[in-house]
């Protein structure tokens, strides 16, 4: 697949309805692989999170500094995140409540993550993504229940990218079609969802940054290495050499801009490492960006309870200024 700039996408025939913002069509500034272990927020000790820590996982946390600086420089209108920890079985759901506040306690790591969230949602874009998704034949729903507890995957990725929370967000669920169909069907759904997201961004005139809230390899320890000190870095390591080598192979393809090759090996990567990209966030994001064959910037890699996590950036705005490929 060839990389296409977003301005070129304006010519794409739209089926989703609504009015195209002709004067100021939207664009995707870039996309981030933004892993979401709750340990990262725990280690940061932000005021929103109740548990306190002595730090830890600095290699990954500091990798997010690049993302924070880039977002401050770009000032996007919205950050759109796709999270594997909002799992839906009937279609793709889009957060569409203007303001959501509450306490999100991670059901798996409640001792690490009890986060008081306060989200401003770009509901116009959310509604547009919902409409575009339906227009391409996907089952989609708007999540409009004000009591909804936002999942930790969404919160962790967004917090690590922009701890000031001063940019509106849109969150999209991970439809678990990968677990009902084969991987080809699932990734096709995510491809179409990505196209729908892109069309909605263009139509609403948003300058958007995307976030694929995915870990890479996902086999992990079956026991907490040190329950008395979760941030004990002397007990943190990759789950296995094989898993590490898979992660490096995938990261290398990203760094080389070999997106087609990356997509080709994703099914094997998922099988061999239980890679969380199976949830579709990465495919969704790459699709939304037009499967760019541009080098992704590597900002950091680290393990969290053995899983492989990388912070990676596809800077479309820089690629566009440079004339593309």
């Amino acid at each position: 697949m060839k990389w296409r700039f977003c301005k070129g996408l304006l010519a794409t025939k739209r089926k989703g309805g609504g009015t195209l913002n002709q004067a100021n069509p939207g664009s995707i500034l870039g996309g981030w692989l933004a892993p979401h272990p709750p340990h990262l927020v725990y280690a940061e000790n932000p005021p929103q999170n109740e548990p306190r820590s002595r730090g830890g996982w600095e290699g990954l946390r500091w990798a997010y500094d690049h993302c924070r600086a880039r977002i401050k420089a770009q000032r996007p209108d919205v950050i759109v995140v796709h999270s594997p920890h909002w799992q839906t079985v009937v279609g793709h759901h889009v957060l569409a409540v203007k303001n959501l506040r509450g306490l999100s306690v991670d059901p798996i790591f409640p001792h690490l993550f009890r986060y008081h969230f306060d989200l401003e949602v770009d509901t116009e874009l959310a509604d547009a993504i919902y409409a575009e998704a339906r227009s391409v034949g996907l089952t989609a729903k708007r999540m409009i229940n004000p009591d909804f507890r936002v999942d930790y995957g969404t919160i962790v990725s967004l917090h690590m990218m922009n701890p000031d929370w001063d940019i509106p967000v849109v969150a999209i669920s991970a439809n678990n079609s990968p677990y009902f169909y084969d991987d080809d069907v699932a990734q096709d759904e995510m491809t179409r969802l990505g196209e729908a997201t892109r069309a909605a961004i263009v139509r609403t005139g948003r300058r958007a940054v995307l976030a694929a809230s995915n870990t890479l390899s996902h086999l992990h320890f079956s026991r907490e290495p040190n329950p008395d000190l979760p941030e004990d870095m002397s007990r943190e390591h990759v789950y296995s050499q094989a898993q590490y080598e898979w992660d490096m192979r995938v990261i290398e393809l990203m760094r080389a801009g070999k997106t087609s090759e990356l997509l080709a090996i994703l099914p094997e990567f998922m099988r061999e490492t239980f890679a969380e990209v199976k949830a579709g966030s990465l495919t969704w994001m790459l699709s939304a960006m037009g499967f760019p064959e541009i080098p992704a910037k590597f900002h950091g890699y680290g393990s969290v309870i053995g899983t492989g996590n990388a912070v990676m950036e596809w800077d479309l705005s820089a690629a566009q200024q440079g004339g593309g490929q």
Binding site: Q87, V105, F148, R223, E224
Partner: protein
């Protein structure tokens, strides 16, 4: 005294507002009857094992004296009438602490949970709203994704010893579906059915074997059943029931299917321990 009663119940919220769907209504009514039955038998405490409360690093044990709030399911947030589910559990904290201690002693990694805002799972909330109209205490143990059949059986044998160590009549409530092949499109509830006819055959076969107490045969086929029908958590429910000793005295105690039907394409049943 070990578990004085046991039941297997579904945990999808559709049955809380059944509307005109006869299967949903039958499942809900069977659960209400089971709760009444427990009351008549002198049950004072429920012990929930829900396949919807997932953990990955060992097991979690709910230990907050009162667990209350409103819950919105991540998938079923738009269900009419039950999109938001209020809940209010009174947990037997000494039992929770004893459970934790026993699991730790038995080399299961476990952790007590006592946090405001902890997201109790949909399955436990749905079950409790239908079963618990009599003020039973309610304890909860998580379902570790990576705990296999043997580990789960051993886990529940450990729990059962804890239950037996005090004299509070306790019911085991296993919240689990059967076949797990959901419809992935929006459906009219009136047209709900088991999504695959083969799943229906399998579900009925498994329920019949459970009623007959045919544990050996059940264990011979459970892996095939789990794989072919995408059964909820690989039908770990069977290991939970076995570990709790529910199959130990088939001549005296038998499982009986009180209701069976579809929920959004999946299989659901209310199975209780009789007579």
């Amino acid at each position: 005294m070990s578990f004085a009663y046991a039941c297997l119940v579904p945990g999808l919220p559709h049955i809380l507002a059944p509307g005109n769907n006869a299967a949903y209504r039958a499942l809900a009514e069977a659960m209400v009857r089971a709760g009444d039955d427990m009351q008549e038998r002198g049950i004072r405490r429920l012990f929930y094992f829900s396949t919807q409360w997932l953990s990955v690093l060992g097991h979690l044990v709910q230990a907050r004296p009162q667990v209350a709030g409103r819950h919105v399911d991540e998938n079923w947030h738009d269900l009419p009438e039950v999109g938001s589910l209020p809940f209010d559990f009174k947990v037997d904290v000494p039992l929770a602490e004893a459970t934790y201690a026993a699991l730790d002693q038995a080399n299961f990694q476990s952790r007590l949970v006592n946090y405001e805002g902890f997201p109790v799972d949909t399955g436990t909330i749905v079950a409790d709203r239908l079963l618990n109209r009599h003020g039973f205490a309610a304890n909860m143990l998580s379902c570790c994704v990576y705990s296999d059949y043997g580990d789960t059986e051993r886990l529940m044998r450990t729990v059962t010893k804890v239950i037996a160590a005090d004299d509070v009549p306790t019911a085991l409530v296993v919240v689990s579906g059967l076949s797990g092949r959901y419809f992935t499109k929006v459906i009219d509830p009136q047209e709900d059915h088991i999504s695959d006819p083969g799943d229906d055959v399998w579900n009925r076969r498994i329920l019949a074997l459970m009623e007959q107490g045919q544990l050996i045969e059940l264990e011979q086929v459970v892996a095939d059943y789990a794989r072919e029908c995408k059964v909820d958590m690989g039908f770990k429910a069977l290991a939970v029931l076995k570990g709790a000793g529910i199959f130990d005295h088939p001549a005296q105690r038998q499982l009986m299917t009180q209701a069976y039907g579809p929920i959004y394409g999946t299989g659901a049943a209310v199975v209780t321990l009789g007579p």
